[in-house]
């Protein structure tokens, strides 16, 4: 009885799967079509989902940069990877350190700082972008890597996730270590950080998604292709006329590939990260 009911559900599962897959499939297929007229002719029918003569020419054009004003795709990829990587790595160090102090050390003003961090989680970046633009402009930081990295390293929500984790480690553990003569720094490095590996993964995944996606800020602070990340480069290329969909889709595939691949490999981790961010928030 139960099994037949579930069998009946498969068409519903598949229908929704198609809704989510079909657009992505069209992106892949279109990126493999060399002839622009063929793309426009076939986009009205089921042929949009199928490529008769797959070609990698669009990829060659995007990778070499001949359609991107001479900047090879790898430049934008490098920019994004460098920016996101620096934010994530710097963030893990800075935020876990702050959280460790808030959770494990005793000092005046501790509870005030905890509530300050919690309060700061709410502040939406979009509402701070314009005054921040004024600040970084005064610093002479416009059009650089650090303008896209430094403001995002300290992250209240990441501090909070680490903080919650560190408060749950039994006190006896570091008391024992202290008796053995370990300094707080050693306790953080040898006990705190290694134990917090799941939080590190969560923070790394959530931050990577957030900053791989970031668009408003790089749009405001980058000028030329030199420091421009993938998202802004994708938008600029998309806005160029005449628009060649084959090239645009190849760019789109190359932009989403890295994260999609990581997602396929670590799907469970991705989903757990989201859950962890939700149920604790």
């Amino acid at each position: 009885m139960r099994r037949t009911r579930h069998l009946w559900l498969y068409p519903v599962f598949i229908l929704f799967a198609l809704i989510f897959i079909a657009p992505v499939e069209v992106m892949f297929v279109t990126s493999l079509k060399r002839d622009e007229l063929e793309i426009l002719r076939e986009m009205t029918s089921f042929r949009a989902f199928w490529v008769a003569h797959p070609s990698l020419e669009n990829y060659a054009a995007v990778l070499s940069g001949e359609v991107l004003g001479g900047t090879p795709f790898a430049r934008f990829l490098f920019n994004t990877v460098l920016i996101v990587g620096s934010i994530v790595a710097g963030g893990i160090a800075v935020n876990s350190m702050a959280a460790f102090a808030l959770a494990r050390l005793r000092f005046r003003g501790r509870s005030f700082l905890v509530s300050l961090v919690v309060a700061l989680i709410i502040l939406p970046f979009e509402g701070l972008a314009v005054p921040l633009l004024l600040i970084v402009n005064r610093f002479g930081w416009l059009n650089s890597y650090h303008v896209q990295i430094v403001p995002f390293i300290a992250h209240p929500f990441s501090i909070y996730l680490f903080y919650q984790f560190f408060t749950k480690i039994p006190r006896e553990l570091d008391e024992a270590a202290r008796v053995d003569g370990a300094s707080p720094w050693q306790i953080y490095w040898r006990i705190g950080l290694p134990l917090s590996l799941p939080v590190i993964a969560t923070v790394a995944i959530l931050q990577s998604l957030e900053y791989w996606n970031s668009f408003l800020w790089p749009l405001m602070v980058t000028r030329g292709p030199e420091y421009r990340p993938l998202s802004v480069a994708m938008n600029n290329f998309f806005g160029q006329y005449p628009r060649y969909w084959g090239d645009v889709m190849a760019f789109a595939v190359l932009t989403s590939m890295p994260i999609l691949l990581v997602y396929l490999l670590f799907q469970r981790w991705f989903i757990q990260s989201v859950v962890r961010s939700g149920l604790k928030g």
Binding site: L105, G127, V130, L134, F238
Partner: protein, 299 residues
């Protein structure tokens, strides 16, 4: 003596641990926030030969008398008011659908979540292609389903269709996120509750309303509030797909801030709009905190 020394030690050590983040948070979060408030009372521009002047509430007065601001605010609220229930409802539906032990369930869960990891700009580009007027794939689909009676529609350039189209694209991209939260919430509800409900003669519909829905209370609060705040931040989709058009029909608060502060260099004026935006988001978050506190008190 000993205790006292220990205390000072900790304070110094704590300062060492905390100073990098406190420095960064002050410079890039607290300072911009304070500046937004201060600048909103000035005529500050991004680049200007003239000195900045204090102009009182004039920015706010101008803001509130600008019909474009009200359009942007109304669009943003409308977007949130439609997206939040639709996306959360669909997410809950998908989560209950997928919350079973059958073959291939991990595959389907993975597929439904996949758009969440695709860069929003790419999502917009893909959909722009599907929505091409008059010969795009979606128009072809609508025509086929309606036997040629409906369409073609100019999804992104028709004043009445542009916002609903942006809404659908946003839901397509984001629903997997809330689905996963709900799925975790569903799996936290003890099985015994359902067994007890069955013994009491509850049908599946009653089980859903009297066991599932109350059991998801925390998931509901989280999903509703995060989706609402995300909805208020709407920018990328409209900037890439419509540039706020046609005739401002898809302009949003964040885009209004972006255009006045960055394109027109009117930092003071954009700061006033930013303050309004932050206040709205703060208000929504405070409601969330209040709901969470109540939950804790009940326990």
């Amino acid at each position: 003596m000993l205790i006292r020394r220990k205390k000072t030690d900790d304070a110094l050590v704590a300062l060492g641990f905390l100073s990098p983040s406190l420095l960064l948070l002050t410079a890039f979060l607290i300072a911009p926030f304070v500046m937004a408030v201060v600048l909103s009372f000035t005529n500050q521009r991004l680049i200007s030969p003239l000195p900045t002047q204090f102009i009182g509430l004039r920015n706010y007065a101008r803001l509130f008398s600008d019909p474009d601001f009200w359009t942007a605010l109304r669009n943003t609220v409308l977007f949130a008011a439609v997206v939040v229930p639709l996306q959360s409802g669909l997410a809950l539906f998908l989560a209950t659908l997928i919350n079973r032990r059958i073959r291939g369930i991990n595959f389907f869960r993975g597929v439904y979540f996949m758009p969440v990891v695709i860069t929003m700009v790419v999502v917009c580009v893909i959909w722009y292609f599907l929505l091409i007027y008059p010969e795009g794939l979606l128009n072809a689909l609508v025509r086929a389903v309606s036997f040629g009676k409906l369409g073609p529609y100019d999804w992104l350039r028709d004043r009445r269709l542009a916002m609903p189209t942006i809404i659908l694209i946003s839901i397509w991209q984001g629903v997997g996120f809330q689905m996963v939260i709900y799925l975790a919430g569903l799996q936290d509800i003890p099985r015994e509750l359902y067994e007890a409900a069955v013994i009491d003669g509850a049908n599946p519909w009653q089980q859903f309303w009297h066991v599932t829905m109350p059991g998801l209370r925390n998931a509901h609060i989280f999903v509703l509030v995060t989706t609402t705040i995300l909805a208020f931040k709407l920018f990328t989709q409209v900037e890439v797909l419509t540039q706020g058009g046609p005739l401002g029909a898809t302009n949003t608060l964040v885009r209004y801030i972006f255009v006045s502060g960055y394109r027109r260099l009117k930092v003071g004026y954009a700061s006033a709009a930013s303050v309004i935006f932050v206040l709205i988001v703060l208000f929504i978050s405070l409601i969330q905190r209040k709901l969470f506190v109540e939950e804790r008190e009940i326990r």
